[in-house]
């Protein structure tokens, strides 16, 4: 009764599994927290972007109210000890001028009046606050606006310490661990096990679905984060960064590291979901292993995903002066590997994990009552 000419191409079967699983993963109600995790840095950068844009608008307004257009070099010319006339001669009348009087005690019954002033200038990007007492400059303080250099370090920190180590890590945990474990708990895995499909093909299909879903979620978020991060800078600064200062390469590296993280962590959590009934234990073990990676000997470091991913991160985060040595070790990448080695490393780790998964999936039995 079997029909002749049955298709034997596993790729078609894998494709069917991917389509079914993608739908399940992307629209699962229990996976909403993964979207929240992925979008959290985006919300953070959007809020920062909003605040930075407001600040910039305010500076531009002050610059426009100045008697004449100022440059950053103009702002640097004001020194302590100058008179107010000299300042006004250099920069023109300030756009904002606060003044107040102070009665300063000279003796038990005598006071003198001190006249205070604060001039606020701006070149449109930076603020200059000039403090004057009795018509003489006591302090000239320049507050620089948003600098792409500083902001890129903030971006790199958020990426490495939140996005990579927490958001993608736990996102992959939630998706890949449930590929088999979730269906065992739902008692629906037999749907696949009753199909004429190689168990390995099923495993690959599920893994690819997980990888596509995590990449779609985390790459989209990462792309938007980069876009929002650059949004409040002027087009000139953006162009300079993107096309003349490795900006495009850095953005591509962030996206690449995100995809590799999904691949590496995904493969690990897939096998963990098959080997362990309780996902908390392997998740905690992997999290601790990844966290202590900087303190491990080089040989052991090679058996973790974060070791390779850190080497691929485009911006090194400098340790601020006075950082404790242990924390400093955690921040810096003391033992980086070359990019091709790092990429190969993640692929080898993922392949090993998938090989163990393929052995495990062949041994799996449907025995829901024991779960």
């Amino acid at each position: 009764m079997t029909r002749p000419g049955l298709p034997r191409i596993d790729l078609g079967q894998i494709n069917s599994v991917v389509r079914l699983e993608m739908k399940k993963i992307l629209f699962a109600r229990r996976g909403i927290w993964i979207y929240v995790l992925a979008l959290l840095p985006l919300v953070l950068f959007t809020a920062y972007d909003f605040q930075a844009s407001r600040e910039q608008a305010r500076r531009r307004q002050i610059a426009n109210q100045s008697q004449r257009p100022l440059t950053y070099q103009d702002l640097l010319t004001v020194k302590s000890g100058m008179t107010n006339q000299e300042v006004i001669a250099l920069l023109g009348r300030p756009a904002l001028n606060f003044h107040w009087r102070e009665q300063r005690a000279q003796g038990p019954d005598s006071f003198t009046d001190v006249a205070h002033e604060r001039y606020h200038y701006s070149d449109g990007s930076n603020d200059l606050f000039v403090e004057l007492s009795d018509g003489k400059v006591t302090d000239a303080n320049i507050q620089t606006g948003n600098s792409l250099g500083e902001d890129s370090i903030v971006f790199a920190s958020v990426f490495q310490f939140f996005y990579l180590r927490l958001a993608i890590f736990f996102g992959c945990l939630g998706i890949f661990m449930n590929l088999f474990r979730g269906e065992i708990l739902d008692k629906s895995l037999h749907f696949y096990f009753l199909s004429p499909i190689r168990r390995e093909a099923l495993m690959i299909g599920k893994f690819l679905a997980g990888l596509l879903a995590t990449c779609a979620i985390f790459l989209t978020s990462e792309f938007l984060q980069i876009a929002v991060f650059l949004w409040h800078f002027s087009p000139t600064v953006r162009d300079l960064y993107l096309y003349h200062n490795h900006g495009l390469e850095d953005s591509a590296a962030y996206l690449g590291v995100t995809a590799l993280a999904c691949l590496g962590y995904g493969a690990f959590f897939l096998v963990a979901g098959m080997l362990f009934r309780n996902p908390i234990l392997p998740a905690a073990a992997i999290l601790i292993w990844e966290a202590v990676n900087p303190f491990l000997p080089t040989l052991l470091k090679q058996f973790s995903i974060i070791y390779y991913l850190k080497s691929l991160c485009p911006v090194n985060i400098p340790s601020p002066p006075g950082t404790p040595p242990l924390l400093s070790l955690l921040i810096s990448n003391s033992d980086p590997v070359a990019a091709p080695v790092a990429i190969l490393g993640v692929f080898i780790m993922a392949t090993l994990a998938l090989y163990v998964s393929s052995l495990q999936v062949r041994r799996m039995e449907i025995n829901y009552t024991s779960e």
């Binding site: 078609g12 069917s16 629906s188 037999h190 696949y192 009753l194 199909s195 004429p196 499909i197």
Partner: protein
């Protein structure tokens, strides 16, 4: 032996708990019923046969196919399980269609086969509704459609009539019979003995993980020597016949029917008894009918296993 389902010394233990032990079976074409009380090992035997679980010991082959090769096994086998869970969010049609697509069918083929299977189980009207909203009987039918949809040579059906109304039951039984007549191996587990009796070509009786008996029901009955055969005879002079039977020595117990038109005889030598009966007929007793009264599954089950948890 490529047209049989073979169990060779198969045992399955769940840790220290026995599933089935030392099962040696050879299941031919036709409808074979697995009969036994809860926990006797019926579902374990089916799960072993379909590779959902692996034997602790022994070897299983389904028409020459190993059970650890699902890519080959499920091209010839369809299994309707007792698991009442489905992938979330699917309609009945999508469930069957997806199953066929995962199995490697192209879109057009899968669509056609899915609708054919749905129509075979009379679920066409509800096919575009979500399975989550189905009744128990509808869920049973969609599982049957899944097992049937790729026209398998072996159909394994775990309690397939559960939850079905009488009309649906008879339709499904007709479906199984038709499959068996086309040369399929149909393996059914059931608690309901009168249905098993009605549809089975052979039975496998299970008790506490062991196969107690297997084969055609009449052959199984003949092998149960400790229980005498019971024969119901309708005739015009039951008392005369009873007296002659007792004299002959082939009979150990006789009961006259209340209407004085028949009698129930118990004998340990059924062959000798039938020879004797022919002579009686010649000697003027008018015998209307002779029928074995206990060669059905119900009696065999009761003799071998007892009557625990069985619906008659």
């Amino acid at each position: 032996m490529n047209d049989q389902i073979l169990f060779e010394n198969v045992s399955k233990f769940y840790g220290e708990i026995l599933g089935v032990n030392r099962v040696n079976l050879s299941i031919p074409r036709g409808i074979t019923s697995l009969v036994g009380p809860n926990g006797s090992g019926k579902t374990t035997l089916m799960n072993l046969m379909t590779g959902l679980i692996r034997p602790t010991r022994g070897r299983i082959q389904v028409l020459g196919c190993r059970t650890d090769e699902p890519e080959k096994l499920f091209r010839i086998l369809g299994y309707s399980t007792q698991f009442d869970s489905f992938p979330k969010g699917l309609t009945g049609y999508q469930f069957i269609y997806s199953y066929l697509r995962v199995g490697g069918r192209d879109s057009q083929d899968a669509e056609q086969l899915a609708w054919q299977a749905i129509e075979r189980v009379n679920l066409a009207e509800a096919a575009t509704r979500k399975i989550a909203g189905y009744s128990k009987g509808m869920r049973q039918r969609i599982r049957l459609a899944q097992a049937l949809c790729h026209d398998p040579r072996v159909l394994v059906l775990d309690e397939p009539l559960n939850g079905l109304d009488p009309l649906a039951r008879s339709e499904m039984i007709a479906l199984f019979r038709a499959a068996a007549e086309q040369g399929c191996h149909v393996i059914i587990s059931s608690h309901i003995l009168h249905e098993v009796d009605m549809i089975s070509d052979q039975v496998v009786l299970l008790s506490t993980g062991y196969v107690v008996a297997e084969g055609q029901i009449q052959s199984v009955r003949q092998e149960i020597l400790e229980h005498p055969a019971q024969i119901l005879i309708r005739c015009n002079r039951p008392r005369d016949l009873a007296a002659k039977m007792m004299e002959s020595g082939h009979t150990i117990e006789v009961r006259i029917h209340n209407d004085e038109r028949g009698l129930l005889i118990k004998t340990r030598d059924a062959d000798g008894f039938y020879l004797m009966l022919n002579q009686m007929a010649v000697n003027g007793i008018d015998i209307e009918s002779v029928a074995p009264a206990d060669d059905d599954v119900n009696s065999v089950y009761e003799y071998l296993i007892g009557n625990e948890e069985v619906v008659r």
